[in-house]
């Protein structure tokens, strides 16, 4: 790869005033109303949660490296996988892309100075902190062993810290609702002149679709968890059959939120991929409207499929059949996106820089995750595969392979914009390769484990080795893979942090993006745009050409004249 691609030239010192230098001191962060700072605070917090959840994951895998007890007892194991799931889902992956990256780039991509309700934005962050504190309390005050799903009547009868945990999740729910509300309002109200709906970058369409789900589905989770808490405290009898309740009702309520929540996790990721593929292929995105509309279609159809988690719960045959049919309908818009991404690459000029490597990783892994979902949507095969390691593999391919890859793509893509520094491209690529290998080694064997019968949430498989000697080898491989993956993610964190100290200064537009965030300096000034930016087609990437003097991309003259100095950082 030539220098031109891997080593964007160091830029001059950034313009004096940017959002990082605008004000100093603890309170200037803690009480900030700047969406960029709130985004950065979210980013740091969710990454910390991710490493906590990751620590739990390594403990799970270490316990399962061989049959019998390895490092912990049964009850401990149950708490560790519960906290792994709960931390990863509620603290990392749901807020992950929208609240951290979304907060940072949404207003800038839109051409706005901030979100519609900056105070609500800050409130959302503090609610997240309070929710996280509850989870920490759960951890130190005796744990939780219900699984992140809180199924009744187990959750209403176990003697671990259920009330504390559901209160935490309830509060985190409000944090998520606030973010969603804010994004919907911002996209509706703060579009500058020229920013029509069909000029919105696809990441914003994805965030908009996500926000719809956050606002409409999360209250159902709130009420459900509230009822679990009340049932435990007062013996109300909503879910516990001993008190006249119905435990399957809980599952309907829970999945009414948690299935759409799966799309809260994946849609923003798909949005990032749409941006990255277009920019690094130097081609206009293919099928813009189809990708945009498919996000909305996924969000809406996603509300109608929750019963596919309950094919073996005793729900009626009719319900199962309807849910199966609807489930298949969601697979179509996802397929459309993948094909459009491929068509975008066709006849492009593809640079395999780190964000693009993660985007390709996304297509590969999400491809497997999505296609294995077909086995679970089909009724007959789901009966066999439900609650086995096949499910564990499937949802990790979607959530880690999909969302985490997209998150990493996004972090690397916007890192120069957020921090004003370039990370090491060399280590970036090594990291991406290790993540890819480590991930597949961890989770691919789990498909075979599951389809051959290994149930999930099992502390031990020693007694099963009689009929299934192969389980040992698969678990062993999976654990090795998890170590490689863990090391890879650490590596990523280390070179990113190192870049803050010794990375080259970033130019305004190092990759050649045509969306508005690349028109302001890196890092952006406090109020984003000194002058109203020029709104054009967000995928007219060919209007930007590499300028060796600047060390980045600049708009070429053929289009409308820019209305403001394009590269403040270069002056």
């Amino acid at each position: 790869m030539s220098d031109l691609l891997t080593e964007p030239r160091p830029a001059a010192a950034p313009s004096m005033d940017n959002y990082l230098t605008h004000a100093r001191g603890f309170w200037s962060w803690a009480l900030t109303l700047d969406h960029k700072r709130i985004g950065v605070m979210y980013l740091v917090s969710i990454v910390a949660s991710f490493f906590l959840g990751g620590l739990f994951a390594e403990l799970i895998r270490t316990e399962l490296i061989g049959p019998g007890r390895t490092i912990m007892g049964k009850d401990m194991y149950n708490q560790v996988f519960t906290l792994h799931g709960a931390v990863m889902v509620f603290l990392f992956i749901i807020p992950g892309i929208p609240a951290a990256l979304g907060n940072f780039v949404l207003p800038i991509m839109l051409g706005a100075k901030d979100v519609a309700f900056p105070r609500l934005n800050l409130a959302s962050y503090y609610l997240w902190i309070v929710g996280a504190v509850f989870f920490v309390f759960v951890l130190v005050l005796g744990g939780l062993d219900t699984g992140w799903t809180f199924y009744t009547p187990y959750s209403t009868t176990t003697d671990t810290r259920v009330v504390l945990a559901v209160t935490g999740a309830f509060i985190l729910g409000f944090s998520s609702i606030f973010t969603g509300l804010n994004f919907i309002a911002t996209i509706h109200m703060l579009r500058p002149p020229g920013m029509t709906w069909f000029r919105l970058p696809l990441f914003l369409w994805a965030l908009y679709a996500t926000a719809l789900i956050q606002v409409l589905a999360t209250p159902v989770l709130g009420i459900t968890l509230f009822l679990v808490g009340v049932e435990r405290l007062l013996g109300l009898g909503i879910f516990d059959p001993k008190l006249g309740g119905d435990p399957v009702l809980f599952q309907h309520f829970f999945w009414f939120y948690s299935h759409p929540a799966v799309y809260i996790m994946i849609l923003p990721g798909m949005g990032i991929i749409s941006e990255v593929i277009s920019v690094f292929s130097r081609k206009h995105i293919f099928g813009y409207k189809f990708i945009a509309i498919s996000s909305i279609a996924i969000a809406l159809l996603g509300f109608l499929v929750w019963g596919h988690h309950m094919f073996t719960s005793g729900q009626s045959k009719l319900a199962s059949v309807i849910f199966s049919a609807l489930t298949f309908s969601v697979s179509i818009p996802s397929a459309i996106k993948v094909f459009n991404w491929l068509a975008t690459m066709y006849k492009g000029s593809i640079a395999l820089l780190t964000p693009m490597l993660y985007a390709l990783t996304f297509i590969f892994l999400f491809g497997i995750g999505g296609l294995t979902g077909l086995f679970l949507g089909a009724l007959a095969t789901d009966v066999h595969l439900h609650d086995t390691y096949f499910i564990v593999a499937h949802f990790h391919y979607v959530m880690v392979g999909g969302t985490l890859s997209a998150f990493l793509a996004g972090i690397h893509y916007w890192w120069p914009k957020i921090t004003g520094r370039m990370y090491s491209e060399f280590w970036g690529r090594i990291g991406a390769l290790m993540v890819f290998v480590g991930f597949n080694l961890t989770f691919f064997p789990q498909f075979a484990l599951g389809s051959r019968g290994m149930p999930r949430r099992y502390y031990d498989y020693g007694e099963m080795l009689g009929e299934h000697p192969e389980f040992y080898g698969y678990h062993f491989l999976s654990t090795l893979g998890s170590y490689l993956l863990g090391i890879a993610l650490f590596l990523v964190m280390i070179y990113l942090i190192a870049s803050l100290f010794n990375g080259h200064r970033a130019v305004a537009n190092p990759w050649g993006g045509a969306t508005l965030e690349w028109q302001c300096s890196s890092p952006p000034p406090h109020d984003n745009f000194p002058v109203q930016p020029h709104v054009g087609d967000p995928y007219a990437v060919r209007n930007f050409q590499y300028d060796p003097d600047v060390g980045g991309y600049v708009r070429v003259a053929q289009t409308a004249k820019p209305e403001h100095p394009l590269h403040p950082s270069a002056h």
């Binding site: 030539s2 691609l5 149950n78 199924y151 187990y154 009868t157 176990t158 059959p241 001993k242 435990p247 293919f286 099928g287 073996t312 005793g314 045959k317 199962s320 049919a325 298949f328 697979s331 179509i332 397929a335 459309i336 491929l342 690459m345 066709y346 006849k347 492009g348 000029s349 593809i350 640079a351 297509i363 590969f364 491809g367 296609l371 294995t372 086995f375 949507g377 089909a378 009724l379 007959a380 095969t381 009966v383 066999h384 439900h386 064997p445 075979a448 389809s451 051959r452 019968g453 149930p455 999930r456 949430r457 031990d460 099963m464 000697p469 192969e470 040992y472 080898g473 062993f476 060919r542």
Partner: protein, 319 residues
Amino acid sequence: MHDLILFAQSRGGYWLPPPDSSTAGDVDRVFYFILGVASFFFVLIVALMCLFVILYRRRPGVEAPGSASHNNLLEITWTIIPVILVVIMFYMGFTTYLDIRTSPRQAYDIRVVGQKWSWVFSYPNGHVAPELHVPVDRPVRLTMTSEDVIHSLFIPAFRVKMDLVPGRYTTTWFHPLRAGTYDLYCTEYCGTGHSDMLSKVVVHKPGEFETWLEQAANLLASMTPVEAGAELTRRNGCLTCHSTDGTAKVGPSFKGIYGQRHTFTNGTSAEVDDNYIRQSILEPMALIRQGYQPAMPTYKGRLKDQEITAIIEYIESLK
């Protein structure tokens, strides 16, 4: 590789264990159909991706050749083809599912109770056992419920799975194809002993099931009360929570308790005698021994008087 060696020792194909029930073959057909379609698309996507990355890799000074940015015909094509394929998948999955869920009328009925962390299978003649015994030559219907939390009965070789939900009955059925022994697992997380909630399905050769059932049911007639009591504690799942060697599990060990004085969480105390054991079995929540959780299910209506007497004699014998 380690993995491959172990794999060579396992039975069945790479993905699925051998199909040993009448409907398992149909389930596998759906599985392999989807696998075929999914593999095709996966290979297609990855191949195109790699091809494009190679053909259109960025070269300094060379701008992308470029192509149109939308094409409705293409969009329609790659919408319609997947739609047709998923309709077929849905249909195959749906029809086979109806077969799995609709039990034949002449099926042999066995009742199943799940409890933390054991299985209790009751046969039409009143016999109970922790393993599932079935004849090979007829379909079997399981009518299931749970004593405590939700469990799920899973027999991988038969491709059947159904939850056991407290407060209601669920059913599932299968028709085994071959005599033999198969694994049976709990697949709904149910707490500490979830991964110990394993059992076996014993499929008897034609004619042998009836003789097994008769002998097994005649426990009290064919054994001494102490032997019968030992067998009953095994069959009813007592031993998942109680040991006989003095180590405490979820519940206290049976060893040496007869004649001891125990204090309870409500402050009272009593000597372990016949009446106390009887009450512990029938109304376990009445007195909770100090240092233990109220975790024991009631056996009211599930154990006959004579059987309880046998258990008492057995516990008494464990000095």
